[in-house]
Symmetry: C2
Subunit: 248 residues, 2 copies
Amino acid sequence: MKAPHTKRPNPIADDGDEFTFCSTCAFSAACLARGLGKPELRELHVLVEHIGPFKEGEHIFREGDEFNAIAAVRGGTVKTYVNDAEGREQVQGFFLPGEVIGLSAISQGRYPCNAVALDTVILCRFSFTSMAALATRMPGLQAQLFRLLSEDIGKAALLAGNYSADERMAAFLISLSRRYAARGFSASRFQLTMTRTDIANYLRLAAESVSRVFRRLQDEGLIRVDRRDIELLDIKRLEELARSVLRE
Amino acid sequence: MKAPHTKRPNPIADDGDEFTFCSTCAFSAACLARGLGKPELRELHVLVEHIGPFKEGEHIFREGDEFNAIAAVRGGTVKTYVNDAEGREQVQGFFLPGEVIGLSAISQGRYPCNAVALDTVILCRFSFTSMAALATRMPGLQAQLFRLLSEDIGKAALLAGNYSADERMAAFLISLSRRYAARGFSASRFQLTMTRTDIANYLRLAAESVSRVFRRLQDEGLIRVDRRDIELLDIKRLEELARSVLRE
DNA sequence: ACTCGCCCTTGACTCAAATCAAGGCGCAGC
DNA sequence: GCTGCGCCTTGATTTGAGTCAAGGGCGAGT
C-alpha cells in the first residue's frame, strides 16, 4: 500500500514542461507545484510518496488521527465526513483527481474528519513538516500553500448559504462538471461516484429529496440521470440556477 | 485614519512577556506572534500599521477590492458578508478583538466579501506580502499563518451543518461567550453588537425566527435578553444544545 | 438462475421555519 | 415633548423539505 516514491525509476525529465517532470506526479505537480522552477520541483519531488490503491470503502484517515501529511488525489474520488452527535453523517466534501485533502488538519495537528475512498483511489502524499520546511526556502511553494488553504476557506463557505434544494443541487452538478472539465473529462456527462445518500449528506438534504430533485430537474429537461450516470443537458440553465450559490 | 506604527513612541518592552512588547500591539501579538521569540517579534512589529477608528457602518474593505493586507481586530466588532444574487445579505462571520480578517482573500488576490464595522473598530494591519516574506525566514511565523488559515477552514464548515434554529443559536452564543472569555471579558454576560437581522443572516434564519428563538430560550430559563444585552443563565444546557454544532 | 441486500424511488403526511401582516418600543433629531 | 424611523416582537398562515412507509430493481455471491 505504501510505495516510497524514490524507488520508482522515473528520472526527472529534461524538457521544459513542468507537468511531465515525473509522469506519476503529474497531479501533484498540478496541485502544489504550479509556478515553481525545475530545481524546486526536483526537491519537492523527493518528498512525494505514492500510496494506494485504496479500495472502495477503505479509509485514508480517520477523525482524530495524527496529522502528518497532506495528500493529492491522483485517481478516484475521496469523501470527507464527520458524524454529528446524533450519529448522522455530514459530508464535508468530495475530492477528485488533482485536489488536495487534509489541509484542515494543520491547525490541530489531528484530522478533524474522516476520509474514505468512494472507488479505487491512489494518492500522492507529502509530509507536511518537510513541505513547510521546503517552503521556507521556496517562496513560490509557500505562496501556493497559502493559496490552497485560503481557497478552502472560500469553498467551505459556499454550502453554508441558505439555498433551495434545487439551487444546491445545480451548484453541486456545475461544480463537478467544471472540475471534471478542468481535468480533461467531459463537462456534460460523467459518473456520480457517490450514493444518493452521500449527495444528500453533502447538500444537507434527505436522500428522498435528492431523488425528487433529480426527477424535477430531469422533468424540466435540465439533466438526464440513470443511476450513477448523469448528463447535463442544459448547462446554461443549470448555471443560472446555481448562480447565487456559486456567487458569480 | 492611517497611522504608521513606527511613529508611535512605544519602545519594545524589555521584560519577557511577549504580550507587552508593545502595548498597542497586544492583540496582534496574540493573533499572529504566539510562540515567536523576541527578535522575531521585533521584526514583525515594524510591519504593523494601526488603522482606524472606523465608525459604525463604515466599510473596512469591499468585495472585489485588491487584497494586500490581513488585519487583526484590536477593538470593536467587524462583520463580513456577501450579497447573493437576489440581494439578500449572507453574513459570513463576526470578528471580535484578537481575531484576524481577510485570510480568505489570499487565494484570489481580491477580497471575496465585504467587511463593515458594527461599532467603533480599530485594527492592526499587516502587509501580507511582507508577512509572507518574513515567514520564509521565520518558520514559527509561517506555522502560525498556516495554523490560522487552516483554523478558518474548520470554522467555515461549522455553520454548513444541518441544525435546528435552537442549536444554531446556542452554538452562536456559546461561541461568543468563549471568545469574550478568552479576552478576559465575562463569559456569561455581554452586549450583542449586531442586530437581530445580522444574527439571522449569519445563522441562515429569518429575523422573526431569531426573535422567537430568543424568546423560547428565555422562557426555558437558558438566557435573559433585553435588547442588545444578553446574559447566559445556564451555560451547561446551552453547551449541551450547541454540542452537535460545535462538534465536541 | 435465485436470492439477498443495498440503493433508489415514490407517495402520503408532518413539521420547522419562512413569510405575511400588524403593531410596540426606544432613541435621535427637531 | 413630540415625531419618525429603525429595530424588534408577536400572531396567523404557508410552504419546502423531512419523515414515515412501501416497494422496485440491479448486482454480488451462491
